[in-house]
Symmetry: C2
């Protein structure tokens, strides 16, 4: 496995004639990231992982400072999962003095949900760093986790609008045995907080299950709200998966998205409304 720290060295290390897959991460790797690597490994000749804790997408300096950084551990996991090249730039490499460019995605998809809670600058930071990382690698496919559902919508929009020649592949969320979606932030939860946080996957499951017979979004949200009543809920919405508009009646593929705070830790999660089971066939 090759480790590079500059875009110039990355380009030198890449064989542009091979089919390249890229897995952008902020490090502190867990099984969710490794699933992205495995998806890339299965489809591509060369697998690149980027590890960069992007300061411009943190609206809160304390959150940025607290974000777990475990590079040695990450490199060992990346190598054992089949990563060929790790690109781990410094902030100075990504944003040298005089850097002045922002890639901004306008409209509801960056204003609602995470955009409303974290502020617009969050997605400016995400869109800009992802554009830069994708242009540095020029991969055929980039792999993102479904857990960051809104990020996926924003990145897909940006990539389509600018015509970045990379396909965005979305890999299902990986959950621990107790149902909690894997997240680098989970390590900050105390045992008690983790127990309380399990209301999040329980609420999502309950809504998905209830949607088999109930299609009214308000009624479904009420089911979730009851399960989440002991947590500080930032939002619980059922939205269109493409434009993130709020739905009043749900349909298969609609996204149930939730953000909560448990103690000092912010958690997000989501689930897709499943297709309705086919009605049993009546005998003719």
């Amino acid at each position: 496995m090759i480790i590079v720290k500059t875009i110039a060295a990355l380009r030198e290390a890449l064989d542009s004639s091979s089919r390249i897959g890229v897995v952008p991460t902020m490090g502190n790797l867990h099984e969710g990231h490794l699933e992205l690597v495995r998806a890339a490994r299965a489809e591509c000749d060369t697998v690149v992982m980027t590890i960069f804790v992007n300061p411009t997408q943190f609206e809160d300096a304390a959150d940025l400072a607290r974000y777990p950084r475990t590079l040695e551990h990450d490199l060992a996991l990346a190598e054992s999962t089949g990563v060929d090249i790790v690109f781990a730039p410094s902030a100075e490499e990504m944003y040298p003095e005089g850097f002045a460019t922002t890639v901004r995605v306008d409209g509801a998809i960056t204003e609602v949900l995470e955009g409303a809670v974290r502020g617009r600058a969050h997605f400016d930071g995400v869109a800009t760093v992802v554009a830069k990382l994708l242009l540095a690698v020029l991969a055929s496919v980039a792999y993102f986790g479904a857990k960051d559902a809104q990020q996926v919508v924003v990145v897909k929009r940006m990539v389509q609008d600018l015509g970045i020649p990379t396909r965005i592949a979305v890999v299902p969320t990986v959950r621990d045995g107790d149902g909690l979606a894997l997240s680098s932030r989970n390590s900050r939860l105390t045992a008690t907080e983790r127990e309380r946080a399990l209301a999040v996957p329980r609420a999502l499951s309950a809504i998905a299950q209830a949607s088999e017979t109930e299609r009214d979004a308000a009624s479904l949200r009420a089911i979730g709200d009851r399960i989440l009543q002991d947590l500080e809920v930032e939002y619980l919405e059922i939205v269109d998966p493409d434009d993130l508009s709020t739905l009043t009646t749900v349909h298969a593929g609609a996204l149930v998205v939730v953000a909560v705070r448990v103690g000092r830790t912010r958690l997000i999660d989501n689930v897709s409304i499943p297709a309705r089971p086919s009605p049993p066939r009546s005998e003719p």
Copy 2:
């Protein structure tokens, strides 16, 4: 010569293993554009010209509507100068419904001069369309004219910041025999207006010549202002060629930039302060 109207068709027509040069234009080609093509032809295997009157960089709908469109004539000139592929997309191809992304370059380089007169949205439009065109072609080199000096500074900043893998080459301004810089807008000048517009190159020449002995920017500008006194001058500045900051003392390479209105037509031009001639050697 191949003419394509979609990014998909363009990519199909391009041989990505060849050395590609791209000449972005808004059409209405003149000798200035053809010099860009010749520079590309001399250095590259495949020369792509883009022809797109980009609506998002016009702050004035009337100016956009008036902008001369001469596609048939342009295609003939492009072919006879050695262009291999013309990419002439529609506005719908470049900005399909739902398009929501802006590439913005912040700071003084987009706020001063053209940014101050035309508004910040002008350079948002320029940066976004150039990013999109460069990503569509992924050329080794893109050729821009020195006449649009601020555009060159903004495009270079954007390309460097995002890491678009295309080198920006700048080709000297082409002038008519009477000194007027070639511009698609010149065709709108009446004979009388054109005569008056010649004060622009005269003022620039006078400043460049005076700079051999006078290095005070205010004194040099005063020389230009006198020559331009019968025109509506939007700005006449002597600026640093990299960050466009206003200079009080000029140096070799400093840019003298000017924008005027002659009747309904807006003209811009610029010249570089030449290196001081070496002092004559005194006999020992």
